[in-house]
């Protein structure tokens, strides 16, 4: 292993993409993703990355160029955030439905209006069902490691699906963290050349992206669903191998003092590091609390989640996005759905907080947990609780 260096996470992403020997980068700038694409442009300009950099005129075209590039079998990367992800929306479905192994980092950002460049998970939630594999990262090392894992998973011929790596805008994208970059020889071994099975090439003409009458469309979509679900096994295998080679171990659901804890907090993304501080403090005071972090958002890790929370009495789920007029935070809805049929399950309380870049401090987490316990005991007239917002 090479040395640990202090580096901005966005810059580290560029360096990891370089190590992944990417062929094509098509990207459009948007805060807080800009440092990623600026650094990549610089690496290409200096000849440090042997890739074509397509400075497209929009995110819609960024993802569209990625389709073309992936279709000829080139290793393809892009990055975006917030409005950019929404502008890509219809193209995202095409990337997954046409089985293109594109890798994209999303520096999660709030959505307009009012305009906010700061972080939350509204952008992700709007693309939840686009058929991409989606992984939420907690720190810079995890993001870098997942650049390699994402290409490996996406390009696996049993998977052939695009992968989104989520990192919280600013809270993670713009911080300087100690990060270890793997030896290039090990990366090359872990991540062989992309071998897309049926690329567009005159030697073997293929027709891609036909239109499907009702006699065939449902089968095509069902095949896609079966395929995305099956990708979990490959994701697990990839993480296992990655751990063996590089010493960093990953799983779909991360647990922190969660075994036998009566009260659990569930988070997604980088805020879990702050939550851990709160958990440590509370446990120090003798409180029986633990933390569960969801890393794999799609395909949803039903079994792992059920196992992680089955012994708890109360599960407090933190969402960083609103589902307007809906049942609460989008993560909480999914968690509730995953637990509904279980004989043994905790009471689930939904909290929404930290939207539009508003911080959640360790003290806030403590308050959320305490409130959550009260609600699970006494009940609440609300579908969900909004925390840290002036009425």
């Amino acid at each position: 292993m090479a040395d640990r260096v202090g580096i901005e996470v966005s810059v580290a992403i560029g360096d990891a993409v370089k190590q992944a020997n990417v062929d094509v980068i098509a990207a459009y700038p948007i805060t807080p993703q800009t440092h990623i694409v600026e650094h990549l442009a610089e690496l290409v300009a200096n000849g440090e990355v042997d890739a074509a950099y397509i400075p497209v005129e929009s995110e819609h075209s960024a993802m569209s160029a990625c389709l073309g590039s992936a279709a000829v079998g080139a290793r393809t990367f892009t990055a975006t955030a917030g409005q950019g992800l929404e502008l890509m929306h219809e193209v995202l479905y095409v990337a997954s439905s046409m089985r293109f192994p594109v890798v994209m980092t999303v520096a999660n950002r709030a959505l307009s209006s009012p305009l906010s460049v700061w972080g939350d998970h509204s952008d992700v939630m709007a693309v939840r069902d686009t058929g991409w594999i989606q992984i939420f990262t907690e720190n810079g090392q995890e993001v870098v490691d997942h650049i390699f894992c994402a290409f490996r998973i996406a390009e696996d011929n049993k998977v052939l699906l695009p992968v989104m790596i989520h990192l919280d805008g600013f809270h993670l994208s713009h911080v300087i963290e100690p990060i270890t970059f793997p030896d290039q020889s090990k990366v090359d071994k872990f991540l062989p050349d992309n071998k897309y099975p049926l690329p567009l090439h005159p030697d073997k003409p293929v027709t891609m992206g036909d239109f499907a009458p009702p006699i065939i469309y449902p089968e095509a979509k069902w095949a896609q669903e079966v395929n995305l679900r099956a990708s979990k096994e490959i994701i697990l295998k990839c993480w296992q191998e990655f751990g063996e080679i590089f010493g960093h171990h990953y799983s779909p659901v991360e647990r922190y003092h969660s075994e036998k804890a009566k009260v659990l907090l569930l988070t997604m993304g980088s805020f879990s590091e702050t939550a851990m501080t709160a958990i440590d403090k509370m446990r120090g005071e003798g409180r029986d609390v633990g933390l569960v972090r969801l890393r794999l958002w799609r395909p949803f890790p039903f079994e792992e989640l059920r196992r992680a929370v089955e012994d708890a009495e109360t599960l407090i789920v933190l969402d960083r996005a609103l589902s307007f007029g809906g049942p609460g935070g989008p993560v909480c809805s999914e968690v509730k759905a995953a637990l509904y049929g279980q004989a043994k399950k905790p009471k689930v309380v939904s909290f929404v907080s930290g939207i539009g870049g508003r911080d959640i401090s360790p003290g806030d987490f403590e308050e959320i947990i305490n409130k959550g316990i009260t609600i699970s005991e006494k009940g609440s007239p609300n579908e969900f609780e909004i925390f840290g917002v002036r009425e």
């Binding site: 062929d23 094509v24 098509a26 042997d50 890739a51 074509a52 397509i54 400075p55 497209v56 005129e57 929009s58 819609h60 075209s61 960024a62 569209s64 160029a65 990625c66 389709l67 073309g68 590039s69 992936a70 279709a71 000829v72 079998g73 080139a74 393809t76 219809e90 193209v91 095409v94 046409m98 050349d193 567009l200 090439h201 005159p202 073997k204 003409p205 293929v206 027709t207 891609m208 992206g209 036909d210 239109f211 499907a212 009458p213 065939i216 095509a220």
Partner: protein, 308 residues
């Protein structure tokens, strides 16, 4: 001309790349244009197609009319998809992962996919200078979705979203000058073409493919269904469009205009318009207005071509 049937087949390959069995309407000028264009492009071609008539008629699963690699993704992004294809191929060849060879990357779209919803993606791709050919098949409306107006629909034409009515003449705006927009990007090659002039069209497509950098060819494609005309008129109407000066055939090579067919006297626009139901409702004075505009536009183009 008597032996036309004998020698013409020798001038053009019998081999088709866009093959029969597709579901285009009877007498479709756009399908004819695509077929001839494909003959000119040849086998070493990758085509990215926009949503539209030609996509829908040629690729209902589990069939295909395409004998070259072909991809359709969405309606408005074809130029961007082609950008990705071109860049991907370039890198794979550079890194030795596929053999070095000349592959023509082609983007095709209708007038809607080009001059309306796909204009931004097209402008970006032209400006970035990708080595690709963009073909716009202009049937002057959104035909695939049922004859709705586009910015390429001519003044006065009735469509389902620019219907002629008691207080409307139909389309109230003049046809967007898409070739001029393409030329304004200072790309090396822009041309207009029509399958009624098959050899001219195929030569232009070959020239476009041989041009390093972006090339744009705008092809008028008669649509009997949408133009409300008999199905045996595609060739005749294409000729009349050129002979009336409504759709002149020209090239813009490195900024220099060249008129490919000039006529000592243009036919009156009525010769073209009276054969089509979409203009049936127009009054004399509107037709006169159209005639004036066509005459003026043609004179301006001619002047530009003289200047070179």
């Amino acid at each position: 001309m008597q032996n036309y049937g004998v020698y013409v087949p020798r001038l053009v390959t019998k081999k088709d790349i866009f093959v029969s069995g597709h579901r285009a309407c009877i007498g479709c000028g756009e399908a004819l244009a695509v077929r001839l264009v494909c003959k000119a492009l040849g086998q070493n071609t990758i085509i990215a197609s926009a949503t539209g008539c030609m996509e829908i008629v040629s690729s209902p699963l589990p069939t295909t009319s395409w004998k070259v690699p072909w991809i359709h993704t969405l309606f408005e992004n074809t130029a961007a998809v082609a950008s990705g294809i071109e860049s991907g191929l370039k890198m794979l060849m550079k890194k030795g992962r596929i053999a070095q060879q000349d592959i023509t990357v082609v983007a095709m779209a209708g007038d809607g996919g080009t001059s309306d919803i796909g204009l931004q993606a097209l402008s970006g791709a032209l400006e970035r200078g990708h080595n690709f050919v963009y073909l716009c098949f202009d049937n002057e409306a959104y035909m695939n979705t049922g004859i709705q107006r586009s910015s390429s629909t001519p003044y006065g034409a009735a469509t389902t979203t620019s219907p002629a009515g008691k207080v409307s003449i139909g389309q109230v705006s003049w046809k967007k000058n898409m070739p001029a927009i393409a030329a304004a990007h200072n790309i090396p090659y822009v041309a207009t073409a029509c399958p009624s002039y098959p050899f001219d069209m195929m030569d232009k497509v070959k020239k476009a493919a041989a041009t390093p950098g972006p090339a744009y060819v705008h092809i008028l494609s008669v649509c009997p269904t949408g133009w409300r005309c008999p199905t045996d008129l595609a060739i005749k109407l294409g000729r009349l469009a050129v002979e009336t000066g409504i759709f002149p055939l020209y090239e813009v090579e490195n900024g220099k205009y060249k008129l490919n067919f000039d006529f000592p006297e243009l036919k009156p626009v009525t010769a073209y318009m009276k054969l089509q139901g979409r203009f049936r409702h127009l009054s004399e004075d509107i037709i006169e207005k159209i005639q004036k505009r066509v005459t003026a536009d043609y004179a301006e183009l001619k002047e530009r071509a003289v200047e070179g």
